[in-house]
């Protein structure tokens, strides 16, 4: 039995995991990061457009601050988020970006003087002040009051990931790649590490730690049409679920991005629209202003995606061998802008579709269609990032439901969450490792290891007639079709039944090669049942949630129901042999909210079933604000009185800004 002991174990080496590893390493802990792939290959690298942080440096972001970022995030979430967590996040984001600047991220900087920009399809001149020259620049993204998204051209995730990964190398964090955690070791409701499979040798080993942090990203590959990398199969969330103790939150909250390119599904950043790109239909008509006259192409992602599909359903899609699509037109931004700020986008369009998006007119239009993009749901945690149920298990980044995104995430908030949660959760996680002893018997470790060894042997001995590749493909198509952008009770019900059948079928497969190493089919065979469990949590949660909120849109329940559904869905899998998750709920407390539920600003009014507490709390908040303003209190004091929040390190300190006292 091979056992590796450490203080702090991190599963997943993307931005969130690496930043958390630095928090632990810098507190003197023996820290190990496990990753499926070399960490610089993580899906974080694919984040293109940028990171939200309210620096307020450039002309179009002047006056920005934490309060505006908070309000955008809460509205974006359709009031589904944890507002205290959203506050912790917006308050730390400027610090995260400044830390990254120190670690070498070459953020695009403000340039003094005038430049032309395209706003609402019109050329506009923007003039930057001389005293801002050289500070960090920001661009526009959907659902934000100010231009808040800081960037390095359209390779933001790449430059961030390389800086943080190299910072981890510099600090001698022990990073081990091509290692896959396949189950968590736990006893008496505490997590002690993981059983890990070496993806080169096939060997199983135990990693024992005082606490374990899962940062394995999202579960996009449960869908066929997704922008996610092939490694985004949600294994971290799945092994947490399989403990039978830890819960997953809001799994039905799945985001569909408006502009992946057709047919490959490779993402074209929201920066395309943020910088002024527009959407056109089969007639070349710009249709978004017809649906959303105020925000147009820059409405929240869930709104734009739905409007695109709605428009296609109205017969205005562009026919193609891959089905109908919409055109994205960035040619109006001009070649110079595209070749500087949207270079990867141009490269992707040229290589995969033979289209140069800088070419003027229809020749430069790019086919796009909404596809799965982001998992708002994940391992449900407390504000510290620790599982509500399983002590010593932490989670951060997309893998977690920490819950700053609720039912819809704003563009630019995910890559921001990775590093911010890495800082905040990473520090709480490190403190847990410092405060707790290891007290686990080797016999317990042996039991978990033996169980996984047996599972692999069982899979290799199966002699059925099902193909694991076919089961996976069926699941993915089913999720696209029945648990997609538009949902209803009938299709969700069918999906739940069919997914359960697929899960049962995984016991009747046949893996052709019996090798324990270098056997890709074996890997599919132990991963797909886990993916199916996650898919069931999504479908079942979506079936039971009889309302529309953010990205979860029910055609049979069109209204947001604050009266009955202001709650978070919790899924668990108490018995190994269950074929269906156990669903429960956690109420959101309106009376503690800084921003009580209200109209989000999209579509028709009157689409909310009001909760009477919303008005009550609003009055309370208004009254408090008025009183404190009269007494000459500043925005920080007022905010603190409305909803207090804590942060580790010096993250609670104020963020300095130009033009702010």
């Amino acid at each position: 039995m091979k056992i590796t002991y450490c203080d702090a174990l991190i599963i997943g080496g993307g931005l969130a995991g690496l930043r958390a590893s630095l928090a632990a390493q810098k507190k003197g802990l023996n820290t190990i990061v496990l990753s499926l792939v070399p960490v610089k290959r993580s899906h974080s690298a694919a984040a293109q457009g940028g990171m939200q942080a309210s620096l307020g440096n450039s002309k179009m972001s002047e006056g920005d601050n934490e309060d505006l970022h908070f309000s955008d995030t809460v509205k974006g979430s359709d009031w589904g988020c944890d507002q205290e967590v959203a506050r912790m996040f917006v308050h730390t984001a400027p610090k995260a970006i400044r830390e990254l600047a120190g670690w070498g991220v070459p953020w695009t900087r403000v340039r003094e003087g005038s430049r032309e920009a395209v706003i609402n399809a019109k050329k506009t001149t923007i003039t930057e002040d001389a005293d801002r020259h050289g500070l960090i620049m920001s661009r526009d993204f959907g659902g934000t009051k100010k231009w808040r998204t800081c960037y390095t051209s359209d390779a933001t995730g790449h430059t961030m990931l390389f800086s943080v990964a190299n910072e981890a190398l510099k600090n001698e964090v022990d990073i081990r790649d091509r290692k896959e955690a396949i189950s968590l070791i736990h006893e008496n409701e505490r997590c002690y590490g993981a059983i890990v499979r070496d993806l080169i040798t096939g060997e199983l080993e135990a990693y024992i730690s005082k606490a374990t942090c899962i940062s394995t990203g999202g579960y996009g590959r449960i869908y066929k049409q997704t922008t996610n990398a092939v490694i985004c199969e949600g294994m971290g969330a799945a092994i947490a679920l399989e403990t039978g103790i830890a819960t997953l939150g809001n799994m039905e909250a799945v985001q569909f991005h408006p502009t992946p390119i057709v047919p490959s599904g490779i993402l074209l950043t929201e920066g395309c629209r943020g910088d002024g790109g527009i959407l056109r239909d089969v007639d070349g008509h710009r249709f978004m202003p017809d649906y959303e006259p105020e925000k147009k192409e820059l409405a929240s992602r869930d709104v734009v995606s739905r409007r695109m599909i709605e428009h296609i359903r109205n017969g205005k899609g562009v026919p193609s061998p891959y089905g109908d699509h919409i055109w994205l037109d960035i040619s109006i931004l001009g070649r110079e802008h595209i070749e500087k700020n949207l270079r990867d986008v141009q490269e992707i369009c040229k290589i995969f579709n033979g289209i140069d998006p800088a070419e003027e007119g229809p020749k430069g239009w790019v086919p796009v269609l909404p596809m799965q993009h982001y998992s708002m749901g994940g391992i449900r945690t407390k504000k510290t990032g620790e599982s509500q149920k399983l002590s010593g298990l932490f989670s951060c980044g997309e893998a977690a439901c920490w819950d700053m995104h609720g039912f819809n995430r704003l563009g630019g908030n995910s890559v921001s969450e990775t590093v911010v949660a890495g800082m905040i959760v990473g520090n709480y996680f490190a403190d847990y490792c410092i405060d707790n002893e290891l007290d686990i018997k080797t016999s317990t470790i042996d039991k978990f290891l033996a169980k996984e060894e047996k599972n692999i042997n069982t899979i290799l001995s199966l002699d059925g007639d099902e193909s694991i590749f076919k089961i996976k493909d069926t699941m993915q198509r089913l999720m696209d079709k029945k648990v997609g952008i538009f949902r209803d009770g009938v299709h969700l019900g069918e999906a739940v039944v069919q997914l359960e059948e697929l899960l049962k079928k995984t016991k009747n497969i046949n893996v052709k090669s019996k090798a324990k190493a270098g056997n890709p089919e074996l890997e599919e065979a132990y991963r797909v049942p886990k993916m199916l469990k996650l898919a069931l949590c999504i479908a079942k949660g979506a079936q039971q949630r009889t309302e529309s909120r953010g990205a979860h849109y029910r055609e049979d329940f069109l209204k947001r129901d604050d009266k009955n559904w202001l709650k978070r869905t919790l899924s668990s899998w108490p018995n190994e042999n269950d074929t269906m998750p156990t669903i429960s709920y956690e109420d959101l407390d309106i009376m503690k909210m800084e921003m009580p539920p209200a109209f989000r600003g999209y579509g028709a009014k009157g689409m909310i079933i009001e909760n009477e507490l919303s008005t009550k709390r609003q009055e309370e908040v208004d009254e408090l604000r008025e009183k404190m303003e009269e007494a000459g209190k500043d925005r920080h004091q007022i905010q603190d009185a409305m909803m207090n929040f804590d942060l580790p390190m010096n993250y609670r300190e104020k963020n300095e800004r130009m033009g702010e006292k």
């Binding site: 070399p38 600047a101 070498g104 403000v110 790449h158 510099k170 990398a229 993402l267 995969f352 270098g518």
Partner: protein, 239 residues
């Protein structure tokens, strides 16, 4: 009309005593817009479940899928089958890296060693106060740093490089590019003397034979030729 195509792969599992390197041919139908990512995934799912290769982003961003296609090191995910008129593609794993199995090589390990050797991070004693306004940086300098920061460490330049094949400790074009990147970053306080200490030998800047295959094949079109030449002239003048 879809074409019949043939993909020939050099298969070998160094961990299996019975395995011998051999080319295995796979015949399949081309689909519109088919890339090597799509083709290899199809082969694994329908013909040979034992075939190993690496993809992550499948969009030319992560640098996982470097391999040698008809003699040319390239990113497989960005390789369109339609660009091969005879419909025949021969795939071998990239040289210079440890072979894991078939088309899968350990570029990650190589790049970590390189990164540690060239200290591929900002070196400075300045403490950044993250509650304060960030230090200003000239926008052109930031753009220039970004230009070189675009390297995705895919290893194609290393697989293309004759020196890298002869000298296992050579930091490669990727490593030299990292030094070039930090040498123009005002936040990095290292001097030319410091950089000389790191790469002032035949495993560094003086190992390059100027064959320039690195720049020919770099999928990110980094200006490797210029940067390496400039760095060499600069470091020759040290000491």
């Amino acid at each position: 009309m879809s074409r019949d195509i043939t993909i020939s792969v050099l298969k070998f599992n160094p961990r299996d005593e019975d395995s011998k390197p051999e080319f295995v041919e796979y015949n399949l139908k081309e689909t519109p817009g088919m890339t090597l990512f799509i083709a290899l995934t199809k082969i694994r799912e329908e013909i040979d479940a034992d075939l190993s290769f690496d993809f992550v982003c499948r969009a030319g961003i992560c640098g996982s899928c470097g391999m040698v296609v008809n003699g040319v090191p390239t990113l497989a995910c960005r390789t369109l089958i339609e660009n091969y008129p005879d419909g025949k593609l021969q795939l071998i794993p990239m040289p210079a890296f440890e072979l894991i199995k078939d088309l899968s090589v350990n570029t990650g390990k190589w790049m970590d060693n390189m990164s540690t050797k060239v200290e591929s991070w900002i070196v400075s004693n300045d403490e950044v106060d993250i509650t304060k306004i960030e230090e200003k940086m000239d926008p052109d300098t930031a753009d220039a740093v970004f230009e070189l920061d675009r390297c995705i460490e895919c290893g194609i330049c290393v697989a293309s490089c004759a020196t890298a094949l002869m000298r296992p400790d050579f930091v490669g074009p990727a490593g030299l590019n990292r030094i070039a990147r930090f040498s123009i970053d005002p936040r990095d306080k290292r001097t030319d003397d410091d950089f000389y200490e790191l790469i002032g030998d035949d495993n560094g800047i003086f190992g390059c034979m100027s064959l320039l295959s690195c720049e020919d094949h770099c999928p990110k079109h980094l200006p490797l030729q210029n940067k390496i030449a400039y760095l060499r002239r600069k470091l020759v003048s040290v000491k």
